[in-house]
Symmetry: C7
Subunit: 75 residues, 7 copies
Amino acid sequence: MSEMTTEILEQNLGKMVIVRLKGGKGLRGRLKGFDQHLNLVLEETEDTTNVEDVKKLGLIIVRGDNVVLISPPPR
Amino acid sequence: MSEMTTEILEQNLGKMVIVRLKGGKGLRGRLKGFDQHLNLVLEETEDTTNVEDVKKLGLIIVRGDNVVLISPPPR
Amino acid sequence: MSEMTTEILEQNLGKMVIVRLKGGKGLRGRLKGFDQHLNLVLEETEDTTNVEDVKKLGLIIVRGDNVVLISPPPR
Amino acid sequence: MSEMTTEILEQNLGKMVIVRLKGGKGLRGRLKGFDQHLNLVLEETEDTTNVEDVKKLGLIIVRGDNVVLISPPPR
Amino acid sequence: MSEMTTEILEQNLGKMVIVRLKGGKGLRGRLKGFDQHLNLVLEETEDTTNVEDVKKLGLIIVRGDNVVLISPPPR
Amino acid sequence: MSEMTTEILEQNLGKMVIVRLKGGKGLRGRLKGFDQHLNLVLEETEDTTNVEDVKKLGLIIVRGDNVVLISPPPR
Amino acid sequence: MSEMTTEILEQNLGKMVIVRLKGGKGLRGRLKGFDQHLNLVLEETEDTTNVEDVKKLGLIIVRGDNVVLISPPPR
């Protein structure tokens, strides 16, 4: 993982991020932790795959190999 | 695996967790063990993929590479 | 593989287990052997994918990367 | 690969085995060789995917990562 | 990664690039960073998968194993 | 790769082989080279996926991870 | 990668090659660079997936794990 990736993720610890997973699932949650495989710990997570039916997931661990992209909130 | 992931999983040993697998399968079970690949041992497991037809699986070993996310129960 | 996984598999050597594979295939067989990749040796195996048409497979070797979950029989 | 897997495969050298591949393809052939990745050499192989239209393949090399399961003939 | 790949990516730091992902998703964004796995940091990113409905994503981290191709802008 | 695989491939250098790829594509070509990942160099290659519409590909390099099986010509 | 693969690719530097990707995408472009993972740099690239609608891509970097086959032009 590049230093920039680490830096961006560190700057966003405690902030809401959007995560897109393989297979089309979308998540929105507060970034609590991460590692170099992009394993993520999110809290207050919502499954936003179906925008008509957002589901609360709360605290979750995401296995990094499912991650397509991570998007910090706009500043 | 980050220390935080390990810590969260350790705090949830003996507690019910929800596991989402690749391909859409959903599981709910009591976390008995895990390792750094997210191989999991669950007991009292139910296959909750089809909420109309939950199936009892009992004690299971989940191969970690199938895991998308693990969600401890809300506190 | 965690020690617990090894322990559970060892306790079930010689017993019937249920194995779910990627792609939806289901197997039921007597666990004869395993290794740390979850490569399995099963005997008296049946392909239970289609419950209306269970097929006898007898002795088989399963390549571990196909395994989703392994379920020992209820006690 | 566990010693048992190696042992079973060695005992079946020169015998007909059934091989199931990812994607549903089925093969039947005489086991001539194998390695620890489950790369296989089969001869007198038939593609048995479509039981109404079995195709002769003769001598083949199978790349191990395609293998789901290997089944020696019933004794 | 070949030196040429690194060189091309370095020359395009700060410039708009087009990224095609596995599964058909298309992105357009300003290249801020990359590493040897082709993990990318893009800003002012747009999801261009559906040209009739381009979505703003802003700053994103792309996990490299999803990347099919990266295309710098025509000169 | 087992010695036997290497031996079979070496014996077939310069001969026509049939190659089945993941996703169902079929190739027929003269084996010019190979390595331990089953990366292949074929010449006079034809894409035989659609037997009604065989396409000439000529000299090609096949990335080994796409290979399902390789079949030397019947003797 | 075998020496022969490297040699063929080196001989084709600066020449038009055809690249087939996983998922069925086809590319045609001038080979500018490559590495041992078959990561490729192509220029004057066209997406030839749909022969009725060839799209100009210009200079691109292809991540090697998407490559199925590379075909130099007929001589």
